[in-house]
């Protein structure tokens, strides 16, 4: 069945089809339609879940962790300031190995007050241990919620997963979405069966004091699970493809086979970049695109393979690590450093705080990089006003 839905509703339908059992969330623009719509779905019994209307995002994540710790399938959603407020509990969810799926609408951080998109909120959570997916379409948002539960709850993973979508550009844009059939979703994603859960019939203490003699190995295990997640994300994606006829990959490549120039982008910016690539291809230019869908675990191998033969690579970042550079740029560059073939990589910052990234912006980036032999600057700003 096809439906025209906004990104926020796609996210909510994903939680509904995944049969989330506990939802704990707090409203923030531009995520509010998620809490409103899920409240309605619960009230109308279209979703049999307990929705805890918490008093803050910090409590939203704490309650989600509690619900997941007893074995329930758990969903939450937030944005920007809300995600920042959750920060402590994101670490907690990872350390406690409590799977939770979190929808984050990418919104720039204040001050000054802003509600428009950029990626600094989610990328600031880079080192917490969350699995991170960046989506390009509403269909992908919905499908990824279902996939993410499968990966996050897998007992070789047991890590929370964040699904990221751009504020307004996706959250409030209506697109046609193919609603997966509930029966098929149930087949793909059966009820969660938690082996390790807080259970009075089998009492254990979770998360108690741990000295240097054991903590180190616990961290090693989280990293090992993250690496396992890489393969499991692909598996979950392929299985999804078999049932629903759609797959997305860790990264998505477009026209890269013989490409001399490759753009690397994420989220909706990648969609815009794709149209520019197609136009230039029509004119005979050897250009391609890599869209990074999964940011954590970082798909080292796939990215290396995709760009190693290019002559120049331009990474577009709708985010910035102050005092350093764009975050995707840093990561792509770092992935190549020890490789025998290393194309020059250029880092562009664009679209912060919801500034439009148009085909012209992308064309400007391509033109600018065309004039450079080596990347001498760590940051190249595009469209900076005087």
């Amino acid at each position: 069945m096809k439906k025209v839905v906004m990104g926020n509703h796609a996210l909510s339908y994903g939680a509904m089809l995944a049969r989330a059992q506990v939802i704990a969330a707090y409203p923030i623009t531009p995520q509010t339609e998620v809490v409103g719509f899920l409240s309605e779905l619960c009230a109308d019994k279209l979703l049999d879940a307990k929705f805890i209307k918490v008093e803050s995002e910090h409590s939203a994540m704490a309650a989600s962790i509690g619900a997941s710790a007893v074995g329930a399938r758990t969903f939450t959603a937030t944005s920007a300031q809300g995600l920042a407020l959750m920060h402590e509990m994101l670490h907690w969810a990872v350390g406690a190995r409590t799977p939770v799926v979190l929808g984050n609408i990418n919104r720039a951080m204040g001050p000054p007050w802003t509600i428009w998109t950029d990626q600094n909120d989610s990328l600031s959570q880079r080192d917490t241990g969350l699995i991170q997916y960046y989506c390009e379409s509403n269909q992908e948002v919905l499908d990824t919620v279902i996939q993410a539960f499968k990966v996050s709850e897998n007992e070789r993973v047991l890590l929370p997963a964040m699904i990221v979508l751009d504020a307004f550009v996706l959250s409030h844009t209506s697109e046609v979405v193919d609603m997966p059939d509930q029966e098929l979703v149930d087949k793909y994603l059966p009820r969660r069966k938690a082996t390790y859960r807080v259970d009075p019939k089998d009492p254990h203490s979770f998360g108690n004091l741990t000295g240097p003699d054991r903590y180190y190995e616990l961290r090693y295990k989280i990293e090992r699970s993250m690496r396992e997640a890489e393969g499991l994300i692909k598996e979950a994606d392929e299985e999804f493809d078999k049932l629903f006829g759609r797959k997305y990959g860790l990264i998505e490549t477009h026209q890269i086979e013989d490409a001399e120039t490759i753009l690397v982008a994420s989220a909706t910016v990648a969609g815009t970049a794709r149209t520019v690539v197609d136009e230039l291809r029509a004119k005979g230019e050897k250009i391609g695109l890599v869209r990074v869908r999964v940011f954590r675990p970082f798909p080292f191998q796939e990215i290396r393979k995709a760009i190693e033969n290019a002559h120049r690579v331009m990474v577009i970042d709708r985010n910035i690590s102050f005092g350093h550079s764009g975050i995707f740029y840093q990561e792509v560059k770092a992935a190549m450093y020890n490789q025998p073939r290393r194309p020059p990589i250029f880092g562009y910052i664009a679209g912060l705080g919801g500034r439009d990234v148009t085909p012209e912006t992308i064309a400007e980036i391509i033109e600018d990089a065309g004039k450079r032999d080596r990347s001498e600057e760590d940051i190249i700003w595009i469209g900076l006003k005087p």
Partner: protein, 306 residues
């Protein structure tokens, strides 16, 4: 011998508390009333250490250790999760210190109380942040010494009326308990367990380490706190209906209580008189609140679940 509290021990030896720790007594008595079908959410506090290091635990009920300000919210999540998984019998208990309750966790607690989530919140009150080395909390009494309220500048403001704050949420059950009155405490925790909705229990739990008192005086101090009216034992039903459980016939002077504790060593006679006046005033106020409140079946603990 006829036992007045349940024999079952869900707390074992080998825990890591200091000698004479009131917080351990509080847990032991609470679990006697709660029974096996209990899960605990414990935030940062002395109890996150007392439990014992990984992979050990001194309790025979599961504990989910959670962040400092999340005792209530994690408990709400566990309760919702259990309910969705078809378990409607397990009592989820948030077990937190005064810092985790009066200060950093008050927002999450207020949220859970306002939603009337079906959890029991037990605050063991040792009147300071003990885990981090005796810093003042908003439960620290006026004029008390702590490492952040040194003797030449002791705490100036009174202890926060947490029970009043919880009653103002109009939750079904609020009670104060003391480790010196185990029968009273067990009765109240059982009553709370039989009450649907959010329950708040405030347990007075002396801390010899932080109070600079002798370990063997733990129970004595807890009893003196009640006998001097410093810490009255009472219940509040539905936020408005009061019942005072212990009315000392001949209240003892606060000096007897204060003199046994190093944290009050610097007090002058005038200070102690001032404390006595405040205690008397608060007691009169409590009596007035309880005036006209009738003894009902609910108060006798006859209320059944749902």
């Amino acid at each position: 011998m006829k036992l007045t509290i349940p024999e079952q021990e869900l707390m074992q030896s080998g825990h890591l508390a200091c000698q004479g720790c009131g917080a351990t007594l509080a847990m032991r008595y609470a679990l006697k009333a709660l029974g096996q079908n209990t899960v605990l959410s414990i935030p940062a506090c002395c109890w996150s250490v007392i439990d014992g290091p990984f992979p050990y635990s001194s309790l025979k009920v599961p504990i989910f250790h959670t962040a400092f300000e999340t005792a209530a919210s994690a408990a709400s999540g566990m309760e919702a999760g259990l309910e969705m998984m078809g378990d409607k019998d397990t009592q989820v208990v948030a077990w937190a210190g005064d810092g985790g309750t009066f200060d950093i966790g008050i927002q999450a607690l207020s949220g859970a109380a306002e939603r009337n989530d079906n959890i029991m919140y037990i605050c063991y009150d040792n009147e300071a942040y003990m885990n981090t080395g005796i810093q003042r909390s908003s439960a620290t009494p006026r004029l008390s010494w702590t490492t952040t309220t040194p003797e030449n500048h002791p705490k100036e403001t009174p202890k926060k009326d947490m029970v009043g704050i919880m009653a103002a949420h109009r939750i079904p059950y609020v009670a104060t308990c003391s480790v010196a009155y185990p029968e009273d405490m067990v009765k109240k925790v059982k009553k709370a367990k039989d009450t649907q909705g959010c329950k708040f229990i405030h347990v007075f739990a002396p801390c010899p380490t932080g109070w600079r008192s002798a370990p063997e005086t733990c129970v004595k101090l807890a009893r003196l706190a009640v006998q001097t009216k410093v810490f009255p034992l009472y219940e509040i039903f539905n936020g408005v209906d009061y019942k005072i459980n212990v009315k000392p016939a001949k209240p003892k002077p606060v000096t007897e209580y204060v003199k046994l504790q190093g944290r009050f060593r610097h007090l002058t006679e005038a200070d102690i008189k001032q404390i006595q006046r405040t205690v008397d005033w608060e007691w009169e106020r409590l009596l007035k609140m309880a005036e006209g409140c009738e003894e009902t079946e609910e108060k006798k603990g006859k209320k059944k679940k749902k």
